[in-house]
Each structure stands twice: as structure tokens, then as C-alpha cells.
Symmetry: C2
């Protein structure tokens, strides 16, 4: 499990990326050119605090030493939290059973200076009870075609959401979604749609219809990535 902030996962030429940075650190430690496979990509700016990735190595370094060794070669915006040995055919992406994302909204009057890059600030008081009703309509298997970035191709836009939750912690609203997978921008669009519910622009009972319409224009806007956290990946 690793934790990273503000940088996209996938290798991109001449851009800072998590995959490339960790592969370079592993090479520094083991001398090997490895391919690091994550549970999936994260958009640039999303905090992948529960990301999981695997690689193959012949290194004799004890497994429990890997986090400290790799972290010593990484910038502090990327931290390996834990390492464990897995069977050879383990694959972080293919074997992934479920992922949990969290979107953090600061719904205070003035926002926070300190966490300004870690949460989405909206000063207009949201109707959290309506949002709690609305989020339940996302549970189950749906075609989320209307909840992905327009122009992105992916074979199927059907995904299953196992669990949804909205928590309130003082003036913060935490939106949590657990599913078998999420489309590009999907959580950020769901969060944007729930904010519209909180603002009274969309009624909770309209959500089902909006999902079934498969129409991106009927869902809410894509909220910014810096308030989104990939918190857990399960196998």
C-alpha cells in the first residue's frame, strides 16, 4: 500500500509520475528494471493514499525492508506504506475486487487555509439529508455512461457500486463509494451531482432517471481532483 499526492499514476514522458518515480527508486535499490503494476490509474491531483501496486524482483532484500529502502529514494510526496510478498501470478489490476474512494467537501462559511488543497470548499450550506438519500440510488449495477469524462473510450461503462456513505465531521462532508471499479472522472461527477442535490438543484428521486438517461449533461459537474482520495483497494 502506498500513499501519494497530486501526481498522476501513469508514466508520461517528461512529466512527474508515480509509476516512473517508484520504478526508478526500485532500480536504485535492486538494480533491476521492473514494471510496476497498480490497481489502476488515478487522475492527476487525486490522492491515492490506499493505492496498491506489484512488481517482480529477484532481490534478496527482506520484504519488510522494502518500504524504508524505496522511500529513502523517493521524494516525500510519494510514500510506500507497506510491502508484502504475494504469489507470482498476483496482478494488482486484474485481481482487484473493490476500491473505495472518498471525496471531501468543506462546507463551512470561509473554508480552510491549511487544507485548501486537500478538500473542495463550498460555502453555500448543503442539504446533507437530501444527499444521503440521493447517494443510495447509485448503489448496485448501472451503466454509468453519463458519469464519465466525455471523449474517454472504455469498453464497457457498466460498474457495480457495493456501498455508499455520507459522513459529516464538523463542517466537512465526506462522500464514500465502494465499487468494483470506477470510470474516468466518475467519482468526481457523482460528487458534483450530489452537491447539486445538496443545493436543491436535483431531487434525490431524480438520480435513478439521470443514471438511466446515460446523458452526461444531466449529471452534475466534475468536481476538482485535489479533494478526491483513493482510500482502499481490496483483493
Amino acid at each position: 500500500m502506498m500513499e501519494k499526492t497530486s501526481i498522476g499514476w501513469q508514466k508520461q514522458p517528461s512529466k512527474l509520475n508515480i509509476q516512473g518515480e517508484i520504478e526508478r527508486a526500485i532500480k536504485d535499490i535492486t538494480g533491476e528494471e521492473v514494471e510496476l503494476i497498480a490497481s489502476g490509474r488515478t487522475d492527476a491531483g487525486v490522492h491515492a493514499i490506499g493505492q496498491v501496486a506489484n512488481f517482480k524482483t529477484s532481490s534478496k532484500l527482506p520484504i519488510e525492508k522494502f518500504p524504508i529502502a524505496i522511500n529513502s529514494k523517493l521524494k516525500k510526496s510519494i510514500r510506500i506504506q507497506n510491502a508484502e510478498e504475494v504469489e507470482e501470478r498476483f496482478h494488482s489490476r486484474y485481481n482487484c475486487k473493490e476500491k473505495t474512494y472518498r471525496y471531501i467537501i468543506n462546507n463551512s462559511m470561509q473554508g480552510s487555509a491549511i487544507y485548501r488543497n486537500l478538500e473542495y470548499f463550498i460555502p453555500i450550506k448543503l442539504d446533507v439529508e437530501a444527499m444521503k438519500q440521493a447517494i443510495k440510488h447509485f448503489e448496485g449495477e448501472h451503466d454509468f455512461k453519463g458519469f464519465k469524462a466525455s471523449g474517454t473510450s472504455s469498453k464497457s461503462s457498466v460498474r457495480k457500486i457495493y456501498k455508499t456513505q455520507i459522513k459529516q465531521e464538523n463542517q466537512r462532508i465526506l462522500i464514500e463509494l465502494t465499487g468494483n471499479g470506477f470510470l474516468y472522472n466518475m467519482v468526481r461527477i457523482i460528487a458534483g451531482t450530489l452537491v447539486d442535490v445538496g443545493l436543491g438543484k436535483i431531487k434525490p428521486e431524480e438520480i435513478e432517471d439521470i443514471i438511466n438517461s446515460k446523458d452526461r449533461a444531466r449529471a452534475g459537474k466534475t468536481l476538482p481532483p485535489y479533494a478526491l482520495y483513493l482510500v482502499e483497494v481490496k483483493y
Copy 2:
């Protein structure tokens, strides 16, 4: 009450500072050149999330509109949380009864990527029970001459600490001190001394003697400012 991050309070020529920034914003709103008086200075890098400051104005703008108006003229690293009218002779510094500071230690194995600039990371497991015993010895009125930055002049180094507390939240250790005032670097040196206790370098029962020695060399090191929060100021 305001919240700010990473910038020292006091006006310094050609440096970003909270006082100057807010005075400029107030001038943008009211047209008046005001003098903003805070409860006290904070070191550069300390997060003054509970700072209180006052100024005099003849503006007809309703008091409840001030935070929004001033925030609209400030960079997002400075946020006014609240504003209220006080009697004319109120003085944020002279009338201050007590202040509460919090120092946040991340005592996990690998630290956090996301909060790396908001907490002090120490991977060696600290003995929190010993730290809890030790912090009690700071309570009461003491001459804290050994717990201030060397070379700083101030009339008296006697301060009274009303309340101390160490909280554990998962892998974080929160050190909290409430007192009638704190010397320059005092909380950061107390936190450094408590870390030495947690590491077994200093015994809890030695604290009293270290305070009484008034010897800066016997206290722990000055921990970095970015993990320190001025959380509350009371009148």
C-alpha cells in the same frame, strides 16, 4: 478568529506576512489604513488556525460581512473565519487570557505523503505513556528560561501553563498546551523535550529539574514550526 498557514505574523519589509496582507485587504474594503493587532506573533511556518486580531474602523459594512469581504481580497493561505464587534478598548494582545497550542507528531513507520508539511514525522516508536507523565511537570508557573530560543530578549521568562494533554489518534501524537503565554520557540522546545522522553533519553521525573536548571542545553531540540498550531486564544 482567523486561520493562516506558513507565514509569520509580523510585518517585515519585503516579506509576505499575515498582518500586512490583512491590513491591505481591509484597506481595499474600507479605504482605511488600519493597524491590525494580533494576540501575539507566531513564528514563520506555524499554523495560526485560532489567531485573533482586532482593528478600528468607521466602516458602515455590517460586521458579519467582513469575513467574506476581506477573504475575497486575500490569498487562500489566509482565511478570516469570523468577525465580531468588541468594545473600543479591546486589545487582542493585552486582553488575552490564555492560548492553546497543538504540536502534531506522525509516529508511523513511513510518514504521510499528504500531510508531510503539516506534521512532524518520527518513525522511531515513542513511549507515549512516559510522555504523558512528563508533560504534567510543565503545568503551573515556571521560569521557562531554558525553553526559549537562545538570544531572544524578553523581560520575563516566567509563564503559567494551565493545562497539558497528550492525545493519540491512530499513529499521530498530539501535544496540547494551554497557558497565559508562551516564549519564542517555547512550545517547539517542549515538544522536542517530550520526544526525548518518548525516546527514553530523558526520564519523566527529570523534567522538573530540567525546567529549574534554566539551561537551554538540557532541554530537547527545537522541533520544526510546520507541525505547530495556535488553536485557540481566549479572552
